[in-house]
């Protein structure tokens, strides 16, 4: 990366990183919103830990991590759904057990790989600048499919989030919505783990959504704005990482965090979320009397 007179000369790896990050940000916008609405941030974390186990396993038995990671994250979803039927433990506890068991197992397996030593730093914080054309194709194809499913099933996902009872009664199975939601998160985490790493995936998903919340007035608007803010965060973060020579994954998350902080100072009346509740009849009468 060469910087001169404020103009950054782009190398291939930077362009790849930019495209990969932007694509990922677009996909995780709506999913991050769903995570916030369903209060399942820890679930994202759990799957990220499971993704680490997936990478370790893929290296150990010598298969592509493109297969190994989704396999382990999806298996974790199934394990979670089964464990949730144990009413004596809260889902919070079950998630913590699952997250740290998979993390521990992953670390053990990594140590067993011995000679083929892994860049643990890259696993934890990602290496978006190492994205190659194959990765890009996976992100485009996988991400495109995920986004299409989200749009196709959006009404079901929202209905199940707002009221599983109403959704069930009116023919939109909330169980199917929950499975779908978990599978989508598992797949996105599998894609994202290489870019931003195990520790930062959840932040990548929920920070743009949280930043969007104050400004919007509908679930659809929030999902769209979350994608947009995510894209801005990726671009700002990547340029920042090039400019200041800091690690790119943390820089992207930090840019998103700063965006959130900045947007929290936008006055409420300037947002679509401004109080639109009309005056009551009495108010109108009082106003007319003036």
């Amino acid at each position: 990366m060469t910087c001169g007179a404020g103009i950054i000369m782009f190398d291939d790896f930077f362009i790849h990183a930019l495209f990969a990050g932007i694509s990922l940000a677009i996909i995780v916008g709506p999913l991050g919103c769903l995570i916030i609405w369903r209060k399942m941030a820890f679930f994202g974390d759990t799957l990220a830990h499971a993704a680490l186990l997936g990478i370790a396993l893929a290296i150990l038995i010598d298969i592509s991590s493109l297969v190994g990671v989704p396999l382990v994250t999806l298996a974790s979803c199934i394990a979670l759904m089964i464990a949730k039927r144990t009413p004596s433990l809260s889902s919070d506890t079950i998630l913590a057990i699952l997250a740290h068991s998979t993390l521990a197992l992953g670390l053990v397996l990594i140590s067993l790989t011995g000679g083929r030593s892994l860049d643990v730093n890259g696993l934890l914080f990602g290496d978006i600048l190492a994205v190659d054309t194959t990765d890009l194709l996976v992100i485009y194809a996988g991400g495109g499919a995920i986004l299409a499913i989200i749009i196709w099933q959006w009404r079901r996902l929202i209905a199940a989030t707002l009221s599983p009872e109403i959704a069930e009664a009116e023919g939109l199975s909330p169980q199917r919505a929950e499975w779908l939601f978990m599978m989508l998160i598992a797949l996105v985490v599998s894609i994202a783990v290489k870019l931003v790493g195990v520790l930062l995936i959840t932040a990548l998903m929920i920070i743009p959504a949280a930043a969007a919340r104050r400004l919007v007035s509908s679930p659809e608007m929030m999902a769209g704005l979350a994608s947009l803010l995510g894209v801005i965060g990726v671009i700002a973060g990547l340029y920042g990482s090039a400019e200041f020579d800091i690690p790119s994954g943390p820089a992207i998350i930090l840019a998103g965090g700063l965006l959130l902080l900045g947007l929290s100072f936008v006055p409420r009346r300037l947002t679509a979320n401004a109080n639109v509740r009309p005056h009551t009849h009495q108010d109108e009468v009082g106003h007319d009397a003036k």
Binding site: E165, E168, G171, R277, P278
Partner: protein, 259 residues
């Protein structure tokens, strides 16, 4: 089992058990199009459980539940909390489970008297306004069967009469079946076709007339005519008839009704 051509839903000896306790048992219920069925009973009598059996959010542990194919349900649950993180205006709430035209939304909101609140956030509504929004949401999809779990909770008395009239009007114009759960004996009786008194099982059921002609039930239901409304309006005991639930139900049960 005989299938009635216009039967919306049939429950046969249906029961729900949870952790070795029967929430409700021995429910026989047959709902037809255009019929208003009201379920009454004390707390923990299994009223909501029965409604959940009907809409399918609970499975029957025993007995049978049979729905008409293509049955379109509109459901107002007893409780609904909407997370503040979910931005949701009343207009958006109306097409929660199916696409609805703007005009249909306007008509539904107008019918329940909150046309001016279409752009309001659901989290900002008062209890009564929220109930109206939920009713509008359930009716806007033109259901064959409207299931209302205490639809007038948190609604003031005048609005309660207005909402009951509206429910009757929906039934009259669309011909849908209405299953309503109520704590109130007096107002419901006026428009309902069948009353089901629950206390873990069906204590008694029948048309209001047949029920009223029975001296025991007269004591249970009290005056159900307009004079009853006045009593309700001015009575400061929230459940003036509640002590009769128990005694009447117990008496009925001794006469060999389903246990």
């Amino acid at each position: 089992m005989t299938r009635e051509p216009n039967g919306l839903i049939t429950l046969e000896n249906a029961g729900v058990r949870r952790d070795s306790r029967w929430l409700v048992r021995g429910i026989d219920l047959r709902m037809r199009a255009g019929e208003i069925v009201t379920i009454i009973g004390p707390n923990r009598a299994g009223k909501s459980t029965t409604a959940q059996l009907v809409v399918g959010t609970l499975r029957a542990s025993e007995g049978r539940v049979q729905r008409q194919t293509g049955l379109r349900v509109g459901y107002v649950p007893q409780k609904l909390h909407i997370d503040p993180a979910l931005p949701m205006r009343v207009n958006r709430l109306l097409d929660l489970t199916a696409m609805v035209s703007v005009e249909a939304k306007r008509r539904a909101l107008d019918a329940v008297g909150i046309l001016h609140l279409g752009d309001a956030f659901v989290q900002d509504l008062s209890g009564g306004e929220f109930q109206r929004a939920l009713l509008a949401r359930a009716m806007v999809r033109q259901p064959n069967l409207l299931v209302l779990d205490e639809p007038v909770q948190g609604v003031d008395f005048a609005s309660e009469v207005m909402l009951y009239n509206l429910i009757k009007q929906i039934r009259d114009t669309t011909g849908c079946g209405v299953l309503m759960i109520s704590h109130d004996l007096h107002i419901v009786m006026a428009d309902t076709d069948t009353v089901l008194c629950l206390n873990g099982h069906i204590c008694c059921s029948g048309s209001p007339d047949s029920v009223v002609s029975n001296p025991e039930y007269l004591r249970l239901f009290g005056a159900h005519d307009t004079a009853g409304l006045a009593v309700y309006q001015h009575d400061h005991d929230p459940y003036p008839s509640s002590r009769w639930y128990g005694s009447a139900c117990r008496r009925v049960n001794q006469h060999g009704l389903p246990a």
